[in-house]
Amino acid sequence: MARVLMKGNEAFGEAAIRAGCKHFFGYPITPQSELPHYLAKRLPEIGGLYLQAESELASINMVYGAAAAGARVMTSSSGPGISLMQEGISYIACAELPCVVINVMRGGPGLGNIAPSQSDYFQATKGGGHGDYRMPVLAPASVQEIFDLIGLAFDLAEKYRNPVMVASDGMLGQVMEPVELGPRRETPLSPKPWATTGTAGRKSRNIINSLYIEPEELEKVNLRLQEKYRRIEAEEKRWEEYHTDDAVIVMAAFGMVARIAKAVVDRMRADGIPVGLIRPITLYPFPDAPFLKVLDKAETFLVVEMNAGQMVEDVRLVLGNQRPVHFYGRTGGMLTTVADVEARVREIWEGLK
């Protein structure tokens, strides 16, 4: 298989194409602009459509329309633009349309800056829009993994008829790394008998809708959605464990930060200190199993994030007060470095002794 050097943002685009996505609607924003640039070039080559919308609001609603029409469709943005999509995402969740939304996170809040960040975790996982909805959130940690997770994202989206977010940080969007490109997916896309494509050849009308004026009906919809979320929680948790078996200190980190944490694990283990790492690959559903599994050895946990401590709430929800949960994070695009995390781990280790 070809090994090529590829930028994260371009990988999102190429991975989508390989996953059978032929329609992209988006609005430029740093640090994800290479993604639209790439697709503006590539999609027409394969008979697909790149359309630059007038705003993120328009993008997400074009996605709504395209998904309703049965297409595999994607959009992408960063912090401020994703905020503008919240109403649309809530609609898509309620209308149960499959689509993929990429957030290449940057420093917030407000205009913030364009440096890497992970501070949209809550927005992604708890529902930044109104109402009781959830969407799977996948967090790749390397350009190679982007290919795996974009494919998975589309599959989950269609399996569950739900929007799926892929959350990256600006660093992963910008970095070039070697990737092995698998073959383009040839499997036919799943049939969508519910799509609004015109009634021709069908007995009944299809309607895509999120309005249920009668509370009884809307509650039924919500119960169905909640049942779906429980199914997603039961079946779709994904994570990576790194030296957690005998770890006394277990770190938790996602995305690029997890790679830094891994380097810290290696360094500590080189010094004989039993440190491990749990890397949630799905941020929602949040993987609880690996945390519960390590409880016989693990004495303490350290969550490392590029934000003010958001995933730490999910870790605490899993662990209750069975173990202390520490946090180390940097914000505003400041980077967690191996040295800094290591120092924090050593400090915790000293405290344990």
Partner: protein
Amino acid sequence: MLEEVLIAGFGGQGILSTGMLIAYAGMDEGLHVSWIPSYGPEMRGGTANCGVTVSDSPISSPLVAEPTTLIAMNQPSLDKYESTVKPGGLILYNASFISRGPERKDVRVLGIKANEMAEKIGNVRFAANIILGAFIELTGSVSLSGASEALKKVLPPHRHKLIPANQQALEEGARFAREKTGH
């Protein structure tokens, strides 16, 4: 082996593509590599820089905060990043643009009047590759032939006719470094 290179200078000096040459060469030699540009409105000021990591183990963070090698293509870049270089590291700078060389004593230092050398080959554009040649010579982190090969991937097709001249630049740079440092 872990080589973390920071390349910095003006936009238009070939900063980003020089970094890519290292990354491609490393990749083809089976190493772990990453390349990351600075991005955003700093571009507006006309500066550009990128970080390249070449390593025999997986790369944790592609950002190069403490380079093992700094390649400074202009004075502001040298001034800004000199202090970040790892002790024992290397600073290569384009002496055609930089009058005030580095002051660090705990790193290896080499100034190259790359523009003048490049003009001899035919175009100042080759200046960055001259310094790249020196980098390869002095660190051995990737091979000269690997970088030469990589030119095909990094240069857009309409510039492929310049590959020989670029290769010459790499070699000139390597030779200069060899001679200058007795490497």
